[in-house]
């Protein structure tokens, strides 16, 4: 299915912006830290992701068309209200996809590579998954076609969201005007999302609109007193692309082989990242609880407030 693809169109812009960020960093005009092997890994993960996407793209397109054939309503692609609606619904879908991808290990295994860099720059935005297709999270978008949004419209909106999320992967922009920070996902909000400090874990899942995090209790503001440390709770010791792409799948498979009951197997698969039957490993919730216990101020600090109703992952 050939359609307008915002990501393909924006790719030259991605490259130009990375060049700009590197040059500004070199000139000392903006905060930008790039490490050679880290950058190579991020960019090659991005390239591999497009290839992996092609392998499963046909299945996703076929499923979307099938859902659309069973649609509840006929929604026109040329109506402004329809674009407003698909923008909001796609962004809400993205929020829950992203939250699931952090809080349940099976989907974290597909998403973790995006967080595996210890850097936060525009190249990090391109460190994309190779296994997102097989993890099946694309199913979450099928209800939009079932409602009646044409699959091409959904695909375009997904592309717009991805393009939007590129530019927020930077330390070069500190804060944007208050009204913008209140409504939209920004570099500041997304830095928090990529941070491994216990204070910041499992926060700011937004795609374009940060209002979803505010609404569902997962918003954490960036605090100047605690700079973000990027990466994952257990950083990788290698830039090997296969390890970057599949390490969590391998770890999960190993855990599954050691499971002594179906309950344990289910916990390893669908529990929060870091879950273990005896509690000997640490989930994000445990790390945050320990941080709160050690930081008396955290109890009154909105940045330290945990979303109590959901278990957290890494």
């Amino acid at each position: 299915m050939k359609t307008f693809d915002p990501v393909t169109l924006a790719t030259p812009l991605f490259i130009l912006l990375i060049v700009l960020e590197v040059v500004l960093g070199r000139l000392g005009k903006a905060k930008a830290e790039y490490e050679v092997r880290d950058t190579a890994a991020s960019l090659l993960m991005g390239l591999g992701s497009t290839v992996a996407g092609l392998l499963i793209g046909g299945t996703i397109a076929a499923a979307s068309l099938w859902a659309y054939q069973h649609r509840l309503f006929d929604i026109p692609m040329n109506a402004i209200w329809a674009w407003v609606a698909v923008f909001l619904l796609e962004d809400l879908t993205y929020y829950w996809f992203h939250r699931l991808s952090h809080e349940r290990r099976f989907w974290w295994a597909a998403h973790v590579n995006h967080h595996s860099s210890q850097h936060y720059n525009l190249s990090t935005a391109l460190r994309q998954t190779w296994s997102g297709g097989i993890s099946g999270t694309w199913i979450l978008w099928l209800p939009l076609s079932l409602i009646g949004f044409p699959p091409a419209m959904v695909a375009i909106q997904k592309g717009i969201s991805l393009v939007y999320q590129f530019w927020i992967h930077t330390e070069a922009i500190k804060r944007l005007p208050g009204w913008f920070e209140a409504v939209f996902n920004t570099p500041s909000h997304h830095r928090v999302h990529h941070a491994r400090n216990p204070r910041y874990l499992d926060s700011n899942y937004a795609g374009i609109l940060i209002v979803w995090d505010r609404l569902f209790g997962t918003f954490t503001p960036e605090v100047d007193e605690e700079p973000c440390r990027y990466g994952i709770v257990k950083n990788l010791t290698s830039f090997n692309l296969l390890r970057v792409a599949f390490h969590e799948w391998a770890a999960m498979a190993r855990d599954l082989l050691s499971a002594r009951s179906p309950r344990e197997a289910a916990g390893y698969l669908f529990g929060p990242p870091g879950w273990s039957p005896d509690g000997s490993r640490e989930t994000s919730q445990m790390l945050k609880a320990r941080w709160r216990a050690a930081s008396p101020a955290a109890g009154t600090d909105p940045a330290g407030a945990a979303p109590a109703e959901f278990p957290a992952g890494t």
């Binding site: 070199r26 490490e35 850097h119 440390r229 950083n235």
Partner: protein
């Protein structure tokens, strides 16, 4: 295979090569000075908050460290290894760490994780003579 795809793939690889070369030219990685005791303790405290360190050994090349934490059967080795311009930390049983011997001045600790199979540290001597498992 589709010719258009091959051309696009090749162009992407060329663009990646160019960007990586630009990054190499820019030299804007984080500064990673020789690890000293203060810095190693600070880094370990980030990954293992509240775990008291009894002894600390800095790698001879300043690119890693190993610390002993706790005593008896519960003693752990906290390991820090440089990865690019950052660090990764892991813990393993102290008994496993002291059971590993140096090879060509390098202590290669088996971590057994897909994301961190080994931690290599350049050390003059190991295990420390004055501290037993």
């Amino acid at each position: 295979m589709n010719t258009g795809f091959i051309m696009q793939f090749a162009a992407s690889l060329a663009a990646i090569g160019t960007l990586v070369a630009l990054v190499a030219w820019a030299r804007i990685a984080r500064p990673t000075p020789w690890l000293d005791e203060g810095r190693a303790r600070a880094l370990l405290a980030e990954d293992f908050p509240g775990r008291p360190i009894d002894r600390l050994w800095i790698a001879d090349d300043g690119a890693g460290a190993i610390a002993r934490c706790g005593s008896g059967a519960a003693a752990a080795a906290l390991v820090l290894v440089r990865v690019g311009d950052g660090y990764a930390a892991r813990s393993l049983p102290w008994a496993d760490a002291v059971a590993t011997s140096l090879r060509n001045g390098r202590l290669s600790l088996r971590l057994g994780e897909a994301g961190a199979p080994r931690a290599d540290l350049v050390l003059g001597a190991w295990p420390p003579k004055d501290i037993a498992a």
